[in-house]
Amino acid sequence: MDTENLTVPGNLDSLKAVREFVKRATGSAGIDKQRAYKLTLAVDEILANIVIHGYDEAGRSGDVEISYHVEEDRLRVDLYDCGIPYDPTQNDTPAHLDKQLEDRPIGGLGVYLARQGTDDFIYEFVNDRNHNTFIVNRAANGS
């Protein structure tokens, strides 16, 4: 099983390094380009939320740990942080996607994109840490 870990400071300058990390993961798992982009976007969106809302706005600081595991039929990416507890899977699909821009609230898009870019998106709070798991099936499912 192919696996890799990375720890980065919980700030926005880490976004790029984490995108590169996810690219290595999808390359290792043989995920096609379009789905690889969507998974990269998913992780990037959640990491940005962690940094902005979980750390900065909460007056906290800390690292973010990321790892990937290439399993037989899927790629799993795990993200751990010590920001304020936040469960993005409880965030409803924005009801305003068909609204004109000027009528839309700003927010909720990142979590929506994270859910759209994964086959499974799981959250748990364990040992005082947020744990977000992103799963993409290795066999293209046509979605």
Binding site: L12, D13, K16, A48, L97, K99, L101, E102, L109, L113
Partner: protein, 111 residues
């Protein structure tokens, strides 16, 4: 590729060229450019994005900001979007509010 942004005003259209990767760490630059563009009260805003290889929701939020700052009547054109960036714009419903063009069509944009 690092994020880069240039802008000019031409025939009443503010043209902002975006290249590289637009994420939350650089979205502030885009927002500032939109704010500066709003001062000129342009009739249209054209985003030239053929060299933009990545855009997160931070870029989309700047588009919402542009509409709010420049008024609902401002026309926003997104020109030359790569397939992945285009898909994000469509998936989030932003394609209802902007005009997606494959190439810069002066007759349409500067009308």
């Amino acid at each position: 590729m690092a994020f880069n942004l240039t802008s000019d005003i031409h025939n009443g259209v503010v043209r902002i060229t975006l290249s590289g990767e637009l994420d939350a760490s650089v979205a502030g630059q885009f927002k500032t450019a939109v704010e500066q563009a709003a001062v000129a009260q342009p009739k249209s805003l054209a985003l030239l994005v053929s060299d933009l290889s990545y855009m997160s929701s931070a870029g989309l939020r700047a588009l919402v900001f542009a509409k709010q700052k420049m008024g609902a009547s401002i026309r926003i054109f997104v020109v030359g979007a790569q397939e992945t960036v285009q898909e994000t714009i469509e998936m989030t419903g932003f394609s209802h509010s902007v005009v997606m063009l494959e190439s810069y069509d002066a007759a349409q944009i500067e009308a």
